[in-house]
Subunit: 689 residues, 2 copies
């Protein structure tokens, strides 16, 4: 978060005008560029600070010392960025960490789920509500695009617990290439008076000579960059940090109107007046990759590169002759499988996250030699979950609104555009991806005009782990994130009728379904075997295609019992919703209230995952009502790896059978004799098989 740069449009226009007048050339939108001709590098200053880098390392703190890191994070994009930062820190760290995250509500929702499911040992996460900090800094006019969040680092000494005496503060656009302990160790270099450790700003911004009448905030020489800060919180509180920076900021604001680079301007103004407060840090701890950075002077000479800072608004697309090098470093962690970071710290007291111990015990009880071991293990797997991976606008509250719920993996990405054309309403989709695929997915959406225009589609990334597709866990993630009163539980290979969204809302309204009447509305399912086909606009057109043999009722040839109870011949003629009865193996696509039963997560891989859910609905006495004008059509695709394994492996089928039986045992426990009919049906179908 908080890269310096991109002033508000008005500011940029004013600057541009100025530049045109004085004839300077504007290099880009980043106000931190340096005009090299106009500014010579102050070698002495760089040199002297860098020499401190090669001074003898202070002694290491005791093994297993807890390190504290504070990060301000708001919104969807920063919530993705911070994950890469945290991965890079975890990759090299050998100490327990306590992350102090100052977040808005969006980032908090995302990151709470993420860290809870990530289950990294020896990592504690605390959240602080950014909303509460706003009044403390909202009086400061700020031109930086990070807005109020950009200023929040100033108030950390009062926002963080009083018991905390030191903390490393990081922007979200930082990547580590070294052990954060080394950075923490630099606290030992602080003199008695120093309260803040900072790296030089690696641009000429604060020299104030970028263009005529360029008036930056006051700073010591080239100033300091606040992407990486060591804060002695205890001393800051002692010296009265809050009145100090407020006084200086208010005084400067008399002439300067607003901050350009948020907190960084104010930190620099304070340091200019109180240089004794700052410990300059070696440049390698904050190698700044703004568009016209001077960082080359740092990294070409240094033996080692510790931390890079993507402080151009262009981020990875920054123009820089070594950009490819830095991108490759960064991509390492962008695509890194986060589950590999669930590593214990040898020799440190066990610090398992909540739930991890029970999970380890349950996993330890599994028998690797048992034929269904893979199923058991997959069922227990806790997948990392990153909800609302992309920007999202929650739908307004409407009493009969419906969210389409589905799940997919990378090989179904090409369904999304068509789905968006067929379903103009909100969607909640779970995607089963690796970390690297999540980045490809991001690129896919960004480059699709259809997808990037839709802000009512929420994408929830569930990270891959294990050999079997956790279909029902995915459905439950998508279902839990649906925000409308009703959900349409669909599958990704189906395209709904163009009118379905409107029709469902109208039907829900008309049927007056409320707390009194529990119903599941059935959307009849069809299939085409053709790659290209012209989607029917109406029920009449659909029936014509059906009669012509271009369409079939879904899985009519392979698995008729899955949809037979929908009673397609009655549907042909129906003018009003009609009730149907559950029977064995029925698995229609239904519209239900959002608080409907969850899917049974024991069903992983192929088979019976929806059947079990419909049984659950029936057991809870949901009426099954078929809608006369609703339909949805399955498009052809190659069989999934799971269905191929189901077909070719007797063990796979045996394991599925075992799951079914266990499911029925649970059902009997929960519903007693009412569940008898399901067991009877199961036994009948087995004796037929």
């Amino acid at each position: 978060m908080l890269p310096r740069g991109r002033p508000r449009a008005i500011g940029a226009a004013a600057l541009l005008l100025l530049l045109l007048v004085v004839g300077f050339f504007l290099f880009g939108r980043d106000p931190e560029y340096g005009l090299r001709a106009a500014a010579t590098l102050d070698g002495e200053q760089y040199g002297s600070r860098n020499r401190s880098a090669s001074s003898p390392q202070p002694p290491l703190p005791p093994k297993c010392e807890l390190l504290h890191v504070a990060i301000v994070c708001a919104g969807y994009n920063s919530s993705r960025e911070i994950v890469t930062l945290v991965k890079s820190v975890l990759f090299y760290r050998k100490n327990p960490l306590h992350l102090h995250l100052v977040t808005d509500i969006v980032a908090r929702n995302i990151l709470e789920t993420l860290f809870r499911t990530w289950m990294v040992p020896a990592v504690v996460v605390s959240f602080y509500d950014a909303e509460e900090l706003k009044p403390l800094i909202s009086w400061i006019p700020n031109k930086h695009y990070s807005g109020l969040y950009g200023l929040m680092k100033l108030v950390l000494p009062s926002a963080l617990p009083l018991s905390l005496d030191r903390v490393i503060v990081l922007d979200t656009d930082i990547t580590f290439f070294s052990d954060i302990l080394e950075l923490w160790t630099l606290f030992a270099r602080f003199s008695d008076k120093q309260v803040v450790g900072l790296v030089d700003n690696q641009s000429n911004w604060y020299l104030g000579n970028l263009w005529k009448n360029h008036r930056p905030w006051p700073a010591l020489g080239r100033g300091f960059n606040t992407g990486v800060i060591l804060l002695r919180l205890d001393r800051l509180r002692q010296i009265g940090w809050e009145p100090m920076w407020k006084l200086i900021a208010k005084r400067e604001l008399l002439t300067l109107k607003a901050t350009s680079l948020a907190d960084q301007d104010i930190f620099n103004a304070v340091i200019k007046e109180h240089p004794e407060l700052v410990l300059p840090l070696p440049c390698v701890w904050n190698v700044q990759l703004s568009d016209h950075t001077l960082a080359e002077h740092c990294y070409l000479e240094a033996a080692d590169l510790k931390v890079i800072h993507w402080n151009s608004p262009k981020k990875l697309q920054v123009k820089n002759k070594h950009a490819e090098f830095f991108r490759n470093l960064h991509l390492t962690f962008l695509g890194y499988d986060g589950k590999l970071l669930r590593r214990e710290l040898f020799g440190c007291p066990n610090q398992l996250p909540p739930g991890a111990e029970q999970l380890q015990q349950a996993l330890a009880q599994l028998d690797e030699e048992e034929p269904c071991f893979e199923f058991r293990q997959q069922q227990l797997t806790v997948h990392r979950v990153h909800i609302t991976f992309l920007s999202h606008q929650p739908p307004p509250l409407r009493p009969h609104d419906v969210t389409l719920v589905a799940q997919l993996s990378m090989d179904r990405l090409q369904m999304l555009e068509a789905l968006c054309r067929h379903w103009p309403g909100p969607m909640s989709l779970a995607l089963y991806l690796t970390d690297a695929e999540a980045q490809q997915f991001l690129h896919f959406v960004e480059t699709s005009p259809v997808l990037s225009a839709r802000k009512d589609v929420a994408y929830h990334v569930v990270y891959r782990e294990g050999p079997l597709y956790p279909v029902n866990q995915l459905r439950n993630v998508a279902l839990a994130q649906a925000l409308t009163p009703y959900v349409f539980l669909s599958d990704i290979d189906f395209l709904p009728a163009y009118s379905l969204y409107d029709y469902l809302r109208a039907s829900l309204k008309q049927l007056e379904l409320g707390s009194q009447r529990k119903a599941a509305l059935v959307v009849p399912a069809f299939e085409t075997l053709h790659y290209r086909f012209s989607f029917p606009n109406t029920k009449a057109e659909l029936l014509n295609l059906l009669d012509a043999g271009s369409l079939h009722t879904f899985r009519y040839h392979e698995w008729p019992q899955g949809h037979a109870p929908t009673d397609y011949s009655r549907w042909r003629e129906a003018q009003a919703p009609y009730r149907v009865q559950w029977s064995a193996d029925y698995e229609p696509y239904v519209v239900v209230p959002r608080d409907c039963p969850r899917y049974d997560p024991r069903f992983v891989g192929f088979g019976w995952n929806k059947v079990a859910h419909i049984i659950e609905l029936d057991a809870q006495e949901y009426e099954l009502l078929v809608l006369p004008e609703a339909f949805s059509i399955h498009l052809p695709h190659a069989p999934s790896l799971d269905i191929s394994r189901f077909r070719s492996s007797p063990t796979y089928r045996d394991c599925l059978q075992a799951l079914k039986e266990e499911f029925h045992q649970d059902l009997s426990r929960r519903y007693g004799s009412a569940a008898l009919k399901y067991l009877t049906a199961l036994q009948q179908s087995q004796s037929r098989a």
Copy 2:
């Protein structure tokens, strides 16, 4: 390579017998386990050696010093292992490297291609023929499963160039978690007499008390492990290393019969007699993960873990209470995208690998704003290629043998088993995968009885890079690796007739195709739209299905010109091969000699990739002969991402058009007026469109 362990079956049986007799419990098949009750840890010995780890670091060698690493590598499995080792070294290194690889012919073929296409800056690779070294060590009886290769580290002083004075020697089952420069730096600790640096063996093997009458080779205490060695080659040559180890080995062999742990036994015997030759290294430089390792004493206390050694024959499946931790570390590099290691070394003289400079220039000339930029970039991309990724048995030389050639990505893996059932002959398949997917693929083959039984299928991994599927580059990789005189150029979604392999060989023999007669034999293509269908055993059955509408000629509805010239109605009746004429957009599946023209790599993504190849065949005057009994059937699948983009993006179609035109310009240049007919055809088809 060369993990200590797994003695030959006879040796194991003898040991087992012994153990049964004396009543000891055998922990596993790894001869390096320790019987904890029988052996107490010699803390003093460990402690004293570890203290040297915390002694002040010697000064760093000059920046950019070239580091030399030697590795013995033979066979398919070691050729995969070494890649992970090299990735881990490259990830942390900051120095130029020279890899000295002692290889058999299999490993050399694989690794030459791999390093050539990897194009890592500042890495030089030299190959040494293991075959030539065999006579130097083949007189030593060795029970270790690594066979002769296990002994080759002994002769490195004479095998490596005389100009080389020091080298780090590594087994292939090593993973680095630190900069190899730190290890290199330990050379500075050698006294004037020391010639070899080694880490303690972290098991009780050499204590000789594992079972009654266990007689290991002589060693100093617990002995040393030779998975990581620092060798002063210059001094070894000076002190007469070769006669020295030979003499000692011969003497021991008078009583010991054979080495159990290959070179390691001999190194230890020499050191026992000449302890002044060895510098003990800190244990963290070779943390040994054998089944009953004592390594815990090392890594639980150490601040840092530098190198791990998977010296159990079970490798990653080793039973160890911290196995998960070490596996996660290792998986980091197993799945790491190797292209990210194409990083320059800042501040070191430019050391671009062959071809890299021209490539960089060509890429630099591309215009990012040009609409077809992605196509241009993809065409220029040099993909890393790992040929024969899995064990492979080349087919015997037979004059009319045919290899099926195809390419695929992860989403078509489920086709492989069916393909194996339909095609009993050799196959050469290119797989477009990420590094992580390559591991999934390995697992997929290992767990499939059908696939793991087939040693005549060669899998060539082409690593993913860029947004467009490089279909023709993939085909060329698979084609170049086909080892039979003829190839059947197919696609992965097609299943050949069960009889096709035999029929093609018979036809090739009968037609007496030789250097005089250039022909491409056409295998007519059909398609089914059904997920499940019963594959026709004969042409008659196929024709029945065709008449019944269950089968169609391939792409009859969407792209009839692609196969129309095959003349299906003539084929129905044909009894003998018949000649057909090329016409526009024809793209049959053909059998051709292995030295046929390559595919044009400019066609990336969807469209025209096979059409261009058939034009090339026609231009080179290949006769097109349709075979009357041959057929192959396309199975349904969802449209690929590329075809979806082709259909939805006008730019994509425009770019394909531009590629076609450039292809025709090249064609005219090469074939002159003979190529006119192709251009005319193109123009006609455009005017129709």
